[in-house]
């Protein structure tokens, strides 16, 4: 390890080179004006095929019923809930980047915030699909909302599953609003740029008539701050509440007090891995390497090693307290995780989440695109298995050995999971063609010479 002298006296530039404001416009608006490349169509059709597998499996589930899935007593939560928690987790990176890093004044977020927010919205859409399917009566979702039904009965406000309904829908709404508020000035810029009449009508409609007025910017910046201030506890609350689904119960392996922060850390962990993975392609495809720089990716990798270590801490803590607490069921569940029939899943999880990300301690690996891409993928595999391990191992080994069971997913389980990935990437591919993937106005504010020399 060489101790190369870094320059600490200067802040790293957010944008490499010094593009002018007009160049920023041109770079970011370019994908919206061009006809998609062949590569885009190929990837899009792959995504769409995956999505159609999902549509088929969902259709069959609707038509035939939940019997098509692998869930049964005692493992009545299977891929559906695993996928739900996984996708909600993916969705956490977006708001974290746009809200928390905004509050922390991390200016490097500028290049990646818009994209991450969009990912949040799409991931939450994928997530929302699963509880709905899981109910088995997808056409009766209104029973989830507190309305006075014919029996005069209300929803159960003390149930964590209802908290989920509120948390996920609030999260989706607020993320959407946050995203849209950020888009307004950019849509106005696009409105003033475009020569296409139809596009102009659409941009005018959605930019609401924004005039870049400083009398507006003033309130706008305040609103952004307020939204960030609310979104920060919101993003923590969402995965906290998801963790309550498990932790308020008395199932060994589920009922443990570290679940809320542990789930949040895991969610941020997997979300960053996903953002990093997709951004690697986006910056390549749209010539954004000077805006989404290697430094930014390196910082994301640092966040991943931090959150990955938090997750590792939680695994260790669970194990330690399971032993220390002296409860024989707890002790058994954790031994069973590591050595039982699902040990392969447990060790996949540990190696992908805790061991592989440790490679990011090395600067070379942190800054190598192929290496970080592979580690990012393993992190998401690991985080998916984390939810699988938590849900399946605990349910399949209950208090009574006579009611133990085994869970095997079916074709339809896998198909819907693939379909959710298809939906996610389809939406992302459409997004990168119709909206600016980087915030134009925020970026202009941080390029060199973008602000008065003294203020």
């Amino acid at each position: 390890m060489s101790t190369a002298a870094l320059d600490y006296t200067r802040e790293l530039p957010v944008v490499e080179g010094s593009p002018t404001a007009a160049e920023v416009d041109a770079t970011i608006a370019a994908p919206l004006d061009q006809f998609p490349s062949r590569m885009w169509w190929i990837i899009f059709s792959i995504a769409l095929s995956f999505f159609s597998i999902g549509v088929f499996c969902i259709g069959m589930t609707l038509y035939k019923g939940l019997g098509l899935w692998g869930v049964n007593q005692p493992v009545s939560w299977g891929f559906d809930i695993v996928n739900f928690v996984f996708w909600v987790g993916i969705g956490h990176a977006g708001t974290l980047i746009s809200a928390i890093l905004f509050l922390l004044r991390q200016r490097w977020r500028t290049g990646i915030a818009r994209f991450a927010e969009a990912m949040t919205i799409f991931a939450v859409m994928c997530a929302g699909l699963f509880p709905l399917l899981h109910t088995g009566r997808e056409w009766l979702p209104m029973y989830l909302s507190p309305y006075p039904n014919q029996h005069g009965l209300w929803v159960n406000f003390t149930s964590p599953l209802l908290w989920d309904v509120f948390a996920v829908s609030t999260y989706f709404t607020v993320s959407l609003v946050f995203w849209y508020v950020g888009l307004i000035p950019d849509l106005a810029t696009l409105r003033d740029r475009t020569t296409n009449k139809i596009k102009k009508v659409i941009y005018s409609l959605f930019s609401l008539g924004w005039r870049h007025s400083n009398r507006h910017w003033q309130h706008y910046e305040r609103a952004y701050l307020i939204l960030a201030g609310f979104a920060t506890p919101l993003v923590l609350s969402v995965h906290t509440i998801v963790s309550f689904d498990f932790a308020v119960s008395v199932i060994p392996g589920w009922h443990t007090t570290i679940f809320p922060p542990y789930f949040v850390a895991g969610a941020v962990f997997s979300g960053f891995a996903m953002v990093q993975n997709v951004l690697i392609f986006v910056r390549q495809a749209f010539n954004l390497k000077h805006i989404i720089t290697l430094d930014h990716l390196e910082k994301m990798n640092k966040v991943m090693i931090l959150t990955g270590s938090m997750v590792g801490y939680a695994y260790a803590m669970e194990m330690f307290i399971a032993w220390y607490g002296g409860n024989q069921f707890e002790r058994f569940v954790f031994l069973n995780r590591a050595l039982g029939p699902y040990a392969w899943a447990y060790w996949t999880m540990v190696s992908c989440n805790v061991i592989f990300p440790q490679l990011f301690w090395f600067k070379k690996i942190r800054r190598s695109i192929p290496a970080m891409f592979i580690i990012g993928i393993t992190v998401n595999i690991g985080m998916w298995f984390e939810r699988f391990v938590i849900i399946v191992t605990s349910l399949s080994r209950d208090f009574l050995p006579s009611s133990w069971g085994h869970y095997t997913p079916t074709f339809y389980d896998v198909g819907i999971l693939l379909g959710s990935f298809g939906l996610f990437f389809t939406l992302i591919l459409i997004f990168v063609r119709v909206l600016p993937v980087v915030s134009i106005s925020e970026l202009k504010a941080v390029i060199e010479g973008g602000q008065p020399s003294k203020h």
Partner: protein
Amino acid sequence: MNEKHLFAVTALFDTPDEIIHAAHETTSAGYTRFDINTPYPVHGMDKAMGLKQSRLGVFALVFGLLGATSSVLFMTWVTLIDYPLVIGGKPFWSWPAFVPVAFEITVLLASVLSVVTMIVLYFKFPNNSHPLHDTPYMKKVSSNKFGICIQADDPTFNQKAVEEFLAKVGGKEIGPVFFDLEDLDHGQHIFDPKFIGVLALTAILVSGGTYFTFNKLLYMEPFSWMSAQAKLKAQRPSDLFTDGIGMRRPVEGTVARGFLPYPFKGKPDEAAKNLVNPLLPTKEVIDRGKTKFLTYCSPCHGNFARGDSRLAGQFPNPPTLHSDKVRNWPDGSIYHVITEGQNVMPSYASQISRDDRWAIIQYIRVLQRAHNAKESDLK
């Protein structure tokens, strides 16, 4: 377009430093109705323009408090007043469990309503017919220029003076912006047939859609495998049997467990001789007897078994149970009458369980004793 109305005079600048300087100058020159348009928020502009701090935070606080209190009050009302339900052995008002929902509603209201307030109240958006729209000025401040726009309705506005002033502070491309004549037409448009047409269409679509959704759509079951299964259902016809009835009668002579048939059917004397009250006159038994007596017997025999019922006169008057005959009857005889009926009185065998009949008898004995109390009872 012969009569042009001036909206403002605009000028463009190239750098943030210049625009900050221009804003300073404009404020100190005493103009109040002016605006700065920049492609992104420029630091220090609020101060240069002399703007007061945004009060949006106050709105957010109010909306947040509104969300918190309304959700907590609502959940309190639901769980304490409207439909109290014991869930998981917890108290009705389990405040820790309200925290998640209250928090979400707080965040939802505070953030969404703050944005709506900003857009509607502060920006007065949507508004795509502002005079600045579609001007070359707008196109440039949208991209990379910094513009200032001094409006004609400023009290000290004088087109020439303003143009000179802007040139002095270094503005380029100084020029006037006019109102769009169509937008100045402030006539009544409420009775415009187009508007009314849209209104009517909206009304029809919304009401029709709502009606369909709430009355039809919600009751359509896309698939009914679970509720429409090929199985026998209680009290439903079935094609499986020739008589078309789904429910089957038990085989003749079937005796339900614990329900041996009454052995003294039509034999009151044997009943009187053989039947013995299995219940002791304890407080619980008498209380139970009282309840059942008041439910089943009192409508005819009266609350105190005097035969003075509410139905008196409508039927042949039921007898008092305080007659010597009844008082001297053994318990078995009364039991027999309740079970089999007598004269107009029908059988109560299907309404009153066996034990309850014996309890009623104990209560009747109490009533009889009370009506013929002895001196010794008072001690």
